[in-house]
């Protein structure tokens, strides 16, 4: 496939070019406008991606250049159905992030926007890299701007939160690097498509899975590794929270899908019970803790833990519905939770507090605001007709197809979501005493970034077919390997049974 215009490279490097451009500009207003223009151009650059072929499991828009020959490292990019939607989501969120920090960020404006652009570059890089080393470079490089976003523009406990975030994620990914090197020595290449074709012995898969799973589980974050997330979310500025929730967390689940299922299918099957239990724990624990929060951001952060639990649960069901639901849920969580964080940021600009107590009874005074808050809250609790319903329903279908008991245990998680979101919504809309009298309703800028997200909620809620089509083929392809492993182990089991019967 000869590509005349390197679409994916342009998506990665255009923000970097924008950074160079921004350095020369002094006025704060100009910086904001130019970053907005850059992000819109970036969206324009992403338009050719719409040519994506739906009925193919192949990697598309491939770019390939040798990078470091001695170690067989290549600059290899490409997307398939699993990463396609994530790339679009990342590109789509950038202008919204610029808009939602228009008033919120008042100090060191230039550096802030530079960090945003760097983040975007690195995030796109993670999703499109088809070489393990390239993937790792982006995976780690992304930590630096995120660290700065939290550490400079964060809340009062930013020092604690930023360092915890950095060390937690870095410590997790050190072993990922070891796994990458081990794959190279075993398979002779860093190329992901080539490695995906290979079969590795179980003993090797066992350790490789563990090394990778820790890195990804921390990023997701799954139950025992989740403690960095609430701290980071609460302290991060709005745009930081949005990027963190909408894009960063997806990298973990993307890693599970692409690497754990693809490279170590046998170990994935072997560890599936553990992962399922941890996912259930995330769902229930996240929901229960969210129920008790008084800080809105913290509440949404814990709800993220629960939502991401559904994603991992879906992935480790190894059936089409489950994985489809997981990817849908990744996308939905990006849209819904991102929007909720933006809304919290918007009310924080008015009341200067994120405590629920300080923001009671806004329904009467800020109807437009409450409309959006209601919409996204309903979406967050997976109300039918909204996007999250599709994802969560698919995951649950997948789960019930396989293990009824697990399904029964996951359903209370969905109920908990309704409990904590409705509690929040009810207090915000009708609580007493209200301070909302002095607040102004949404302004044009806020409408501008909430409307597209709102439309997406309905679009994905009512017509998820197109989104599902993009991923179906790729999911089926990646599940084939897992299924062959499962079958062979089933055959072994049945053989053992038969032998016993004969005895």
């Amino acid at each position: 496939m000869v590509e005349t215009w390197p679409i994916l490279s342009s998506l990665i490097f255009f923000p970097l070019l924008g950074v160079v451009f921004l350095i020369g500009i002094k006025q704060e207003k100009a910086i904001r406008i130019i970053t907005l223009i850059i992000s819109l151009i970036e969206m324009g650059l992403a338009l050719p991606l719409l040519k994506f072929q739906l009925n193919s499991a192949k990697f598309q828009f491939i770019e390939f250049h040798p990078w470091i020959k001695q170690f067989h490292i290549n600059y290899h990019l490409g997307i398939d159905g699993i990463s396609y939607l994530m790339v679009l989501l990342t590109v789509f969120l950038l202008p919204l992030c610029v808009l939602c920090s228009w008033n919120y960020i008042q100090k060191r404006v230039k550096e802030f926007h530079i960090c945003l652009l760097l983040m975007t570059s690195a995030c796109i890089g993670v999703f499109v890299a088809l070489d393990l080393v390239l993937f790792y470079v982006f995976w780690e490089a992304m930590l630096i701007p995120m660290f700065l976003l939290i550490a400079i523009w964060g809340g009062p406990r930013r020092k604690y939160a930023s360092i915890k975030f950095f060390i937690y994620t870095l410590a997790g990914s050190t072993l990922l690097l070891v796994a990458i090197i081990a794959f190279y020595l075993k398979g002779g290449t860093f190329s992901i498509p080539e490695l995906l074709k290979m079969d590795f012995p179980f003993h090797f898969q066992f350790w490789a899975f563990l090394a990778m799973a820790i890195a990804f589980a921390i990023k997701v974050p799954m139950f025992p590794f989740h403690t960095w997330l609430p701290a980071a979310h609460v302290e991060a500025p709005t745009a930081g929270s949005v990027l963190l929730a909408s894009v960063l967390l997806k990298m973990g689940t993307y890693g599970f899908l692409r690497f754990c299922l693809g490279l170590t299918p046998a170990a994935s099957v072997y560890f599936a019970p553990l992962m399922i239990v941890l996912s259930l724990a995330s769902i229930l624990y996240g929901g229960l803790v969210a129920l008790g929060q008084t800080d809105m951001k913290k509440l949404i952060a814990y709800s993220s833990v629960a939502h991401m639990g559904f994603v991992t649960l879906g992935i480790f069901m190894f059936n089409l519905r489950g994985v489809e639901g997981a990817i849908m849920q990744m996308l939905n969580h990006g849209i819904t939770t991102g929007a909720l964080f933006m809304l919290v940021g918007a009310i924080y600009e008015r009341s200067h507090s994120r405590e629920i107590e300080d923001n009671l009874g806004l329904g009467k005074y800020l109807p437009a605001y409450m409309f959006f808050f209601g919409l996204f809250s309903l979406s967050s609790l997976a109300f039918p007709g909204t996007n999250s319903f599709v994802g969560e329903a698919l995951v649950l279908i997948g789960v019930f197809e396989k293990y009824k008991i697990v399904g029964l245990m996951a359903v209370p998680g969905a109920l908990l979501a309704a409990a904590y979101m409705l509690r929040l919504l009810q207090k915000l809309a009708w609580g007493e005493p209200s301070k909302g009298k002095n607040f102004t309703d949404l302004n044009a800028r806020e409408w501008l970034y909430l409307v597209p997200l709102g439309l997406l909620v309905f679009y994905l809620g009512f017509a998820p077919k197109l989104a599902l089509q993009t991923m179906d083929k790729s999911i089926q392809k990646s599940l084939i390997k897992v299924h062959t492993v499962q079958k062979s182990s089933n055959i072994n089991l049945t053989l053992v049974k038969k032998e016993k019967d004969i005895d």
Binding site: W67, I68, K69, Q70, F71, E111, V133, Y136, V137, F138, E140, A141, L143, I144, F147, L148, A151, I152, R158, K159, S162, I163, F166, I167, L170, A171, T174, L175, L177, V178, I181, A182, Y184, L185
Partner: protein
């Protein structure tokens, strides 16, 4: 003989500079030494010109090959930056002239040039002594500082013992193999059971270089030296001796496939990186912190020596290059920050982003590089080392090295955090264009070579493959 002297060009040029400096020191007037930096830039050109040179000199004790020429270029680069860095040196002892200071710097570097080409054990030994003795003189040159003297004494005593042991080891090698030429030694049997004595001897000889590298357990001098001596000398002492030590280690290890020795090296490496990183966590003085970080980096470098394959040794050479660039960058910032020559504590970094934005950027790049975060040369170097080590029976070392990144990130991140997130308490830092330019080009080097290492890696691996018999 004479017709081959062009091979010796980088050394001749530096000897010439040393002679000029020597005559300057004789003069009673305090003559300007401005010319030296320009002369060294020419020297860089000379080195670059003689990069492809090849040949044997001085009765086969002196080998000019691509590896040696690369390390000479690196030495010149380090020396140039160190001289530029020491232009001010506000705490130079009153009785010492600038030219004295530079004289010993150049002499020490001359020793490193010799080290990178010597292939005969006594030549190596003499070159090593030239390097060390010049440095022993440089270290205490800090006015009214008992700590500097303490550091110098520690450094010298340790050095004396280490080299004495090394020499003792040489006697074993000589006794068993009856030769001191590395080329002949390479053809001997280095099996542990067959020649136990000579392996022990070689181990002792290696020790005198591991000491230079400040590998655990020969590291005790390093933090004290960094903290005690002046910022300018610390820059030199942190960077230059490492270049000399590594080139000799690469040459020695390239022909010894003895597993016992390697296992010991591997254990030292593992201890070194863990020890260095853990102790660095609690340091307040930035130079002392870097002293401990050097110990951990010595561990990383030895990792490549443990493998001993072409790829491994090439990776070590690359890592030294990375180490030199990153340390020069971070020390450049520190030296310019402590403008009155005082030590810089972490608190002094507060608000650097406003006081000197370029320095803050360079500090961040260097710190992330030292921590091994992509896309810097530090990550690339570490990645090459880990890749070449995996699958040679030392997988545990790879895992320890990878986990160490997780420990190390805390204190490097702390530097960046202080520089970027705290508000400044002092006024703007007066920086001139030239120092900004040097700092910036170092950081660009760290980033660009980190992303595009292809040519240099190729060069190094090719040149290392010529070492193997």
């Amino acid at each position: 003989m004479i017709k081959n002297m062009y091979l010796f060009l980088p050394e001749i040029y530096l000897i010439f500079l040393v002679i000029v400096l020597f005559f300057q020191t004789l003069s009673k007037k305090n003559l300007s030494t401005q010319w030296l930096s320009y002369a060294l830039f020419i020297g860089l050109g000379v080195c670059f010109y003689s990069l492809p040179a090849k040949g044997l000199l001085f009765f086969n004790t002196y080998k000019i090959d691509r590896l040696s020429q690369f390390f000479k270029l690196l030495t010149y680069l380090g020396l140039t930056i160190c001289v530029l860095n020491a232009k001010k040196n506000p705490q130079l002892t009153a009785s010492v002239k600038k030219s004295d200071y530079y004289l010993f710097m150049c002499l020490s570097s001359l020793g490193i040039l010799f080290l990178s080409s010597s292939i005969e054990i006594f030549t190596i030994y003499i070159a090593l002594e030239l390097t060390s003795y010049s440095l022993y003189i440089l270290v205490p040159l800090r006015s009214n500082s008992p700590k500097a003297v303490e550091a110098a004494i520690k450094y010298m005593l340790y050095g004396a013992v280490a080299t004495a042991l090394g020499l003792y080891g040489v006697s074993y090698i000589l006794a068993v193999h009856h030769t001191t030429f590395l080329t002949t030694l390479a053809t001997q049997n280095w099996n542990f059971t067959a020649s136990t004595l000579s392996i022990i001897g070689l181990g002792l000889f290696l020790l005198s270089f591991l000491y230079k590298l400040s590998l655990f357990p020969f590291h005790f001098w390093s933090p004290d030296l960094y903290e005690g001596t002046s910022n300018e000398t610390a820059t030199f002492a942190a960077v230059m001796p490492k270049i000399g030590a590594v080139i000799v280690l690469i040459r020695l290890v390239s022909f010894v496939p003895c597993v016992e020795l390697k296992t010991i090296l591997a254990i030292f490496a593992a201890c070194s990186m863990t020890y260095g990183n853990i102790l660095a966590l609690v340091q307040k003085d930035v130079k002392r912190l870097l002293g401990y970080s050097t110990i951990s980096h010595a561990g990383y470098m030895v990792m490549g020596l443990v493998v001993g394959t072409t790829q491994g040794l090439g990776s070590v050479a690359f890592y030294v290059f990375a180490y030199v660039l990153m340390n020069l960058a971070i020390f450049w910032v520190i030296t310019h920050l402590g403008q009155d020559g005082n030590n810089v504590s972490i608190e002094d970094l507060q608000g650097l982003y406003q006081r000197a934005p370029i320095f803050a950027f360079v500090l961040a790049v260097a710190a992330f590089g030292l921590a091994g975060i992509p896309p810097t040369i530090g990550f690339t170097g570490k990645f090459f080392l880990l890749t070449s080590l995996w699958g040679h029976g030392f997988n545990w070392l790879v895992i320890i090295a990878a986990l160490n990144t997780g420990i190390a990130i805390f204190y490097y991140l702390n530097l960046v955090r202080f520089a970027y997130t705290k508000e400044p308490t002092e006024q703007e830092l007066a920086t001139d264009f030239n120092s900004n330019l040097v700092a910036f080009s170092l950081s660009v080097g760290i980033l660009v070579i980190g992303l595009l290492p292809q040519n240099i890696v190729q060069f190094l691996i090719n040149s290392v493959s010529q070492l193997k018999p």
